[in-house]
Assembly symmetry: C2
Homo-oligomer: 429 residues x 2
Amino acid sequence: MSTPAGDQKVVRLYPPSYDIRVETTAIPQIEHPDDAIVKIKLAGLCGSDLHTYRGTESVTTHFICGHEFVGHVVALGASFHAGVTGRPTLYSTLQIGDKVVSPFTVSCGECHFCRIGFTSRCEESRLFGTAVTAGGQAQYVRVPRAGGTLYRLSDISAGAAGQEHLGKEAIAKLADSSLLLLCDILPTGVFAAFQALNHPKTLPMTTSLPYPLSSSATNVASDISALHAQDTVVTVAVVGLGPVGLCACVSLIEMLVSRGLQFRVVAIDPTESRRAKMAAIYSKISDKQDQFAVATIEEGKAIVKKWTNGIGCNAVLEVVGNNSALALSYELVRPFGCINSVGVHGEPQVPYKGRELYDKNVSMDFGRCPVRAMFPMALDILLKRQDVFGAVGGDASLVEKIVSIDEAKESYDLFDKGKCGKVLFDPWV
Amino acid sequence: MSTPAGDQKVVRLYPPSYDIRVETTAIPQIEHPDDAIVKIKLAGLCGSDLHTYRGTESVTTHFICGHEFVGHVVALGASFHAGVTGRPTLYSTLQIGDKVVSPFTVSCGECHFCRIGFTSRCEESRLFGTAVTAGGQAQYVRVPRAGGTLYRLSDISAGAAGQEHLGKEAIAKLADSSLLLLCDILPTGVFAAFQALNHPKTLPMTTSLPYPLSSSATNVASDISALHAQDTVVTVAVVGLGPVGLCACVSLIEMLVSRGLQFRVVAIDPTESRRAKMAAIYSKISDKQDQFAVATIEEGKAIVKKWTNGIGCNAVLEVVGNNSALALSYELVRPFGCINSVGVHGEPQVPYKGRELYDKNVSMDFGRCPVRAMFPMALDILLKRQDVFGAVGGDASLVEKIVSIDEAKESYDLFDKGKCGKVLFDPWV
Ligand SMILES: NC(=O)c1ccc[n+]([C@@H]2O[C@H](COP(=O)([O-])OP(=O)(O)OC[C@H]3O[C@@H](n4cnc5c(N)ncnc54)[C@H](O)[C@@H]3O)[C@@H](O)[C@H]2O)c1
Ligand SMILES: NC(=O)c1ccc[n+]([C@@H]2O[C@H](COP(=O)([O-])OP(=O)(O)OC[C@H]3O[C@@H](n4cnc5c(N)ncnc54)[C@H](O)[C@@H]3O)[C@@H](O)[C@H]2O)c1
Ligand SMILES: [Zn+2]
Ligand SMILES: [Zn+2]
Ligand SMILES: [Zn+2]
Ligand SMILES: [Zn+2]
């Protein structure tokens, strides 16, 4: 394989909004020694694409859309196999022909943020599918800092101790439509759930130790009395059941069950079709009805009240991206609880008075998922839950259908209007 | 000892504001079986008293002020020594004559929040020095839920393994003016510092492990490259150098040094006298000039920029309680950093746009210190840093002077105008 010269098909958004065109343009070529060119097998259409589609990001120039793609490497820059040591491993090992997935942002793998795992705030961070960095709804894409950014599927989980049954062979069997979930929505859901369960405000419940012992091994004794069994029930609300919220919910339940924790999870969305999909997915992963509920906003509030005697949730995963969801999250969270927000928020001030946050001892996490760092954990969950993440179409799948890239315009339109679920583009049919 | 009948001297605030009167009123008596009556040795005047003094809390009735007090038990309700098992230890062991300190809020020791260590949101939480619960600027105070609320100084640290040199004898030598710091300002400072150093966003620096490994032992391997030495420098800003900010700063440095962490701390306050005190205190605890700086707001911004190549602090301790301090905290914090706010905030919405929080991956903690749970850690730091916390008067002390309770009106006035530092009232001279 090599990068052909010539033209390719791409999906472009024209300013100011709603103007999607499938066009022909030159195939990208290596521009920097750290670049790779990836030939795309499948590209995702995602809720985050709608921010620009709707014009809320004030786009001023057209660009190639898409930040979710899986494919094969067809060309590598001069940095690869140059024999330089101390760089991310892929600079010495990535081969033309390797199958890769990419996080939705570029990360160099070499700056402070990348080293400490906060890869989505890499000093060279760039978002695919913007005017700055051409996206993956195309036949080919140029990946900057490819040795830091890409995951090679053939070796990522090789080192996972105790996970051999989930190793190379299992990965080799994964459908491209399933792998594509690793680019964004599944790791983002995993991130939200992981933040909630590892937050200092949740640790007393997950460790059975009172605060501050729960946060830190210390030689200073605590004189606080012991926890009761009912103290350690972890109650979580997931607010928003789009594709990311569904991933968050499944990941959260998977983590709670695999750690043997007692829990109650309520999944909240005002849209009926979203709730129906959540219910269908839950019925695939469990038949226990007492620890999980799907609810409208009003039902959700009532369920939390009932489950917790009015004190609220330990954690609320906010997976929507607007102020009504943030306000609801505050209402649902208990004193000393945490709001873990992965929604992309806009210009308004967050709807919290300082006094309210003080009075409830609220903790909050905001921001973009460090997909590159969450990848091993997300891959693990992807493999364990192929019953959910392996399906295309049907009641209980995250991916509704795979269509030709030629149908991009109609797909954006339907997706924007909530008339279809997650769509993947095949750029070769 | 027993509760005398008759009258006592108290400090009262009359609505709507600024109206402090020293008056004579009946000595409180046991009203509920769980009550204790404490004869007060010293009571503190605190920055938090100024919120009500200035009328920002819309007070409608007069009440006895003060939420910081140390004294001796002179009467106990029927619950004590009643032989009931399963209650907090003090219900069986507290004796008349025991020396005690009290957190600034009542905590029952028996509800879910108390059991898990989040004592300041006890289901029966009440703040001393309000219309609901008479305060400690008096000769006697009634302590509700006393078996859950009070600390008995003679036995608290007995169980602290490895801390024998800081045990009973050392505690017995502590001055009342030093013990009084345990009621509020020292544990609140410890809480702010502890939250910062144990926040998931700080753990990569303190554990030398990349996120998400830093947060959780997991059998899912990480393929992120190793941390460099310079990645693990913990950079913190303390915003606000009132008594609580000073305690936060000293506690933070004590924790960083005792854990052998590399760090840089900048202590920021616009008021010169506050900065001067901070500098005098620091010169008592260290002679290293490269890892600590005292700064005005503008100097603070410049120092953080220089220290961190423009990326900002890992953590910002907000110890002020207004929106300008919250806005400054956002400016100072780095992507994937945390803002640990202990300031008491008012009605305005916090000055953060959703987009800003997303774009920097900001985490935040707000709220009231669970003093009862932080007590062992605060006592440990109090004992270790008697050079700072043992002093009364002088450049480098937290307590400026001890005055007769008769001087309450003038003291409130001077304290409110920033013309004096922390004052303690002796109700018996
Ligand atoms: N942090 C990250 O790294 C990251 C990554 C991917 C997506 N995102 C963001 O996550 C959010 C969710 O993504 P998605 O693709 O699932 O979005 P989506 O728009 O498909 O789903 C959002 C869901 O929220 C529901 N909703 C709206 N208001 C609500 C409310 N007040 N309470 C409860 N539910 C409400 C809607 O009915 C909808 O089902 C978006 O903001 C997206 O941009 C963030
Ligand atoms: N969370 C809790 O449990 C708890 C406990 C005690 C006190 N508090 C609160 O903590 C805060 C501090 O208490 P204190 O007694 O030290 O207060 P204080 O008023 O004595 O000190 C506040 C300091 O902040 C400084 N300041 C004002 N604006 C600033 C800015 N923009 N940047 C930097 N510094 C600024 C002032 O100059 C002052 O020195 C108050 O809000 C108090 O009510 C909270
Ligand atoms: Zn996406
Ligand atoms: Zn980087
Ligand atoms: Zn106080
Ligand atoms: Zn309680």
